[in-house]
Symmetry: C2
């Protein structure tokens, strides 16, 4: 690894997370950015924001050769965007943020596409799902009987914000997650209403969305969502459980983080891991942690173990 | 996995950690204990403490077939005990607790033995090194530039206690680790002195031992170490660092745990993982986290991710 060339990465989608990924590539010792893929209407605007030598295009084929594509698109678009990229023989990473059965289905779809093309996909490589999932697994392997509580926030949820923005009648939105303790949350959704839309109808549509239907959700109309923006976020994971036959084992993890920067950084760590795995699709739980870190194995083991 | 037979485990060495491993095997859904290997002088005593159907022996060959041996011996005996077990075609796990170059050397030695026999060894599968190492790796992949502090205790260090007990002139010992903050520690070593030994000489030998030479170490003579024993322990891992180009990312992990019970539990999780890996030696950083958990992959992904 120490004398290898850098891995060539492309970023697909340039929202908050995409910009975070650009920063993380730029500061990674073993990655280089070969270009950015955005939608037609964004090409000119994005090209002005990036150094002139960087290709901004609507088609990843313009960027070949690419080792790995960082797919920074809304969760519900990941499958449709990632599959054709995998089919071209390019690895993908994404931060798909829906838990449970939906994630498993995505993994299985990408697994077929990745194996057919002999490349690697890593899904749900954000902080939750993502690194928080790794913590929950470590908690459970240490104390297999017990309860883990995941408490998010306070902070702006990017996934929930994107979901709220997609509701008809919403011009702009910001979804805040407040922890109520023991894994319970309240969602505060601040929206700008498109003139002519009925608040009650829009509110009902937001509350019915799968992103919000499980939680106590409050919707409020404001003049300017921009005045409320802060991408700080965090989590508190807590488990009390039993190791062997011994009770009262207590584990707690807290983070205070900048949401797009952290997600972009984790995506880049996952991009590195794609270059060290055999063909197929993976969640972070299926990848040895050393694969996410730069450098050779001996150095990693001596530094971190 | 759901309808498979249980994996057959043996415990080699029956100190505090060995007993912890017995409890963890007994409560694991996919493990069964086939017997215990102890030294000659302990066979009769240990047999009385265990159910009569369990074989207590000095030789693991009396227990065949065994899928995995949990090697619960002092760190400095791990290589000499594990290598012949691997050579018999039995996987091993250990909680070798010396960091850095010594661990890498052990891993390389066991890697040869494991590959030659087509089996798996997992080393340093305790809580530090072990699960704390996993946390340090997750911290670093989230914020690659920054400093991680590992703060142990307050609590009794088993490795340091064993090391102190081996010093000539020490009849019994207990080593307590106190956190001083930002990764600095004080070691308090309570000893019973063998009559005729000089305290100053014994104290100097303890302070010179590699387990103690890095830290501020205080040695005190007491009448009965037994009155001080408490196997509660804990850690506080903390990192502040930069994700991409965004500073002020803060991560903290704390545990309050029972040392032998947790170590035994982690060894059993690692024993499970040996059955899911290709031949060779591994640290926990090199093993996908899902391998440590019971059950099939889909269930694990849907529950933890």
């Amino acid at each position: 690894m120490s004398v290898r060339e850098k891995w060539r990465a492309a970023v697909v989608g340039l929202g908050n997370v995409g910009w975070g990924a650009l920063d993380a590539i730029d500061t990674a010792p073993d990655m280089e950015l070969v270009g950015v893929v955005v939608r037609e209407h964004a090409v000119a605007r994005v090209q002005k924001l990036l150094p002139p030598h960087l290709v901004v295009t609507t088609n990843i084929n313009d960027l070949k050769p690419v080792d790995v594509a960082i797919v920074a698109v809304p969760s519900r678009s990941v499958a449709v965007v990632a599959k054709p990229i995998l089919a071209q023989g390019i690895c993908t990473v994404d931060s798909f943020d829906i838990h449970g059965r939906d994630l498993w289905r995505l993994r299985q779809q990408l697994d077929v596409a990745a194996r057919n093309a002999g490349v690697v996909a890593i899904s749900a490589a954000g902080w939750d799902p993502g690194t928080d999932s790794l913590l929950r697994a470590i908690f459970a392997l240490q104390a297999p009987r017990g309860i883990t509580y995941t408490n998010f926030g306070p902070g702006m949820s990017m996934g929930h914000t994107v979901a709220a923005k997609k509701i008809a009648g919403v011009r702009n939105a910001m979804a805040l997650t407040l922890p109520l303790g023991y894994g319970r949350h309240q969602r505060l959704v601040y929206i700008e209403l498109v003139p002519g839309y009925d608040f009650t109808t829009v509110e009902a549509a937001i509350k019915k969305d799968p992103y919000f239907s499980q939680d106590d959700t409050r919707v409020e109309v404001v003049d300017d969502v921009g005045q409320l923006l802060d991408t700080g976020h965090g989590v508190m994971l807590e488990r009390r459980g039993t190791a062997g036959k011994t009770a009262n084992q207590v584990f707690r993890y807290t983070s205070r983080i900048t949401n797009p920067a952290l997600t972009g950084q984790i995506l880049v760590a996952a991009a590195r891991a794609t270059q060290r795995l055999s063909a197929g699709a993976y969640t972070m739980l299926e990848v040895p942690l050393a694969h996410f870190l730069p450098g050779d194995l001996q150095t990693i083991v001596e530094e971190f173990v």
